[in-house]
């Protein structure tokens, strides 16, 4: 199929792969990017929020032609029980700025645009081609790939594995293990179409302003999970995800959770009358710092979701993906400029640079968080939301009960559900994991 040898082969054309391929091609390397979808984006699923800063570091003037939906002016956190939500909303006019900080995007459209930039930068992008195998020499060094297009091996000095969260190649080749059910969440999502004005009325928006709602509580039925509602121009992305191990354990189905979430009295009016045009599902790395696998080896690096780089607490994934792709590319470029071989020792520069970036620093900060939330899911996702909701109702409902009695009732509901030791223990564990 392709006889020439490349400086680098990038497997996958999501955020990480595009970030890597673009940066490598811009630096003048000879790049082949292979994508199994019919175009970049057709297999990619995300909420999706784009963080400007990380894309600016790759394509500074992206706002000129990138397909962006709405810039976000408001963030809502909801703690939900079956009939109510307790919300923390942050909306600021500061977000109506010259160069907004966050946008909603639709991945199929955005990735297509990003891929166009990769081609313009000079990379050879080949779609509808599944990479089936990594080619290794007698010493285990990765020297190329095989695809389902036949034609034998394609060789390169280095292979960038941007193959997504459950990437087959790296796990089959024994470069890393397949993620554990406790370390990945399964999220399902629907695209709800509504007239633009209806979305703007329901969310109090003008122009291209947008809102993000992140919701947790009884919607995940005691499992570790979250729901989300993102406003796009003419549609709303709505979804919910829980740990795969929790689905496995409870026998609950993701689409059941999605239906319950949609019918919640706080959610239903937002999507009333909408037309659903797509149903998607995707895995999200949730293991954090402790789940990061070996990131480099002789002739290869792994980036993005495949490297489990996702900040579950701040709901950041695609920015870590594109940044890890860019950093891997910069490391490869440096090794190449020194005319040195792509050995594990030389490619360890990628990990060094990653450790100096926000990626590893952020993931390290929350390294104990996944375990805490996963093990204590009943308390954090069921008991506390119910208690907080009850406390709020007790606070606002006027029924002639003296306030001192009401406060005692609220306190009692917490201590009887969780005990003083449990409450202090949870607060302590949460504070320590957050630190």
């Amino acid at each position: 199929m392709i006889d020439e040898k490349f400086d680098a082969i990038v497997v996958g054309a999501g955020m990480a792969g595009n970030g890597a391929a673009y940066t490598l091609a811009k630096r003048g390397l000879k790049v082949l990017q292979l994508e199994r979808g019919e175009y970049s984006g057709s297999k990619n699923v995300q909420g999706a929020i784009l963080y400007s800063d990380m894309l600016e570091k790759i394509i500074p003037d992206f706002r000129e032609d990138a397909p962006l939906e709405r810039h976000l002016v408001e963030q809502r956190f909801w703690m939900m029980d079956d009939r109510s939500h307790v919300g923390l909303h942050y909306r600021s006019e500061d977000f109506n700025e010259e160069a907004p900080n966050r946008y909603t995007i639709i991945r199929a459209q955005f990735d297509k645009w990003f891929s166009g930039k990769v081609r313009e930068a000079g990379a050879l992008v080949v779609c509808e081609t599944t990479v089936t195998e990594l080619v290794q020499d007698a010493y285990g060094k990765v020297i190329g790939v095989k695809t389902d297009r036949g034609g034998g091996q394609i060789h390169a000095d280095v292979v960038v594995l941007a193959e997504g969260v459950s990437g087959l190649l790296g796990t089959r080749a024994g470069l890393r293990k397949i993620p554990k059910p406790t370390d990945v969440a399964l999220a399902v999502k629907e695209m709800h179409f509504l007239p633009q004005e209806t979305i703007e009325d329901r969310f109090l928006l003008k122009g291209d302003e947008g809102v993000v709602i992140e919701a947790a509580g009884t919607i995940s039925e005691g499992m570790t999970g979250m729901g989300f509602i993102y406003t796009n121009k003419e549609c709303i992305s709505l979804g919910i995800g829980c740990l795969v191990s929790d689905f496995q354990k409870t026998g609950r189905s993701p689409y059941q959770l999605l239906e319950t979430f949609k019918q919640h009295p706080s959610v239903a009016p937002l999507i009333a009358g909408s037309e659903v045009k797509e149903y998607a599902a995707h895995l999200i790395p949730e293991g954090g710092y402790k789940a990061i696998p070996q990131l480099f080896g002789d002739g290869w690096v792994v980036v993005g979701d495949a490297a489990q780089l996702n900040n579950a607490i701040h709901r950041e994934g695609s920015n870590l993906a594109m940044t890890s792709g860019r950093i891997a590319a910069e490391a490869i470029f440096q090794v190449k400029s020194r005319k040195e071989p792509m050995t594990a020792q030389n490619l360890s520069l990628y990990k060094t640079l990653l450790e100096q970036s926000f990626i590893i620093k952020d993931l390290k900060k929350y390294k104990d968080m996944p375990q805490l939330l996963h093990i204590q899911s009943q308390n954090f996702f069921l008991t506390y939301p119910q208690l907080v909701s009850k406390a709020m109702q007790n606070f606002v409902r006027v029924d002639g009960t003296p306030k001192i009695e009401k406060e005692k009732m609220t306190l009692k509901s917490f201590t009887s559900a969780r005990s003083w030791a449990g409450l202090f223990g949870d607060a302590f564990r949460l504070a320590r994991a957050w630190r």
């Binding site: 057709s42 990619n44 997504g164 969260v165 189905s253 149903y279």
Partner: protein
């Protein structure tokens, strides 16, 4: 064993999606068995496209036409050898319009 709530019809959801089905080449294979393992049983409910069903003999079967390629069944079923998971051939499978 938990079964799916009949009120939610996944088929209606999948109907909105675009697919290019690679007829006769299912990208996921279930290991032949007489009684399903716990991992296989979990796939009946965990698969978001409900690709896994019990047949008349109580064995788990797969029909992957509606597969959204999330990889959940691979995470649950591949380590134990219950299923074999490959990507569909290039260009085939689900084609997300929005993603």
């Amino acid at each position: 064993m938990a079964t799916a709530d009949p009120a939610v019809r996944v088929e209606d959801k999948l109907f909105q999606n675009r697919y290019l089905v690679d007829a006769g080449r299912c990208h996921i294979k279930v290991r032949p068995h007489t009684t399903p393992t716990p991992a296989l049983k979990a796939l009946l409910t965990a698969c978001p496209a409900r690709c896994y069903e019990l047949n008349a003999n109580g064995q788990v079967e797969i029909a992957a036409d509606g597969c959204v390629e999330c990889g959940t069944c691979r995470i649950i079923g591949e380590p134990s050898g219950d299923i074999e998971w490959n990507y569909p051939r290039g260009g085939y499978g689900v084609l997300f319009k929005f993603g």
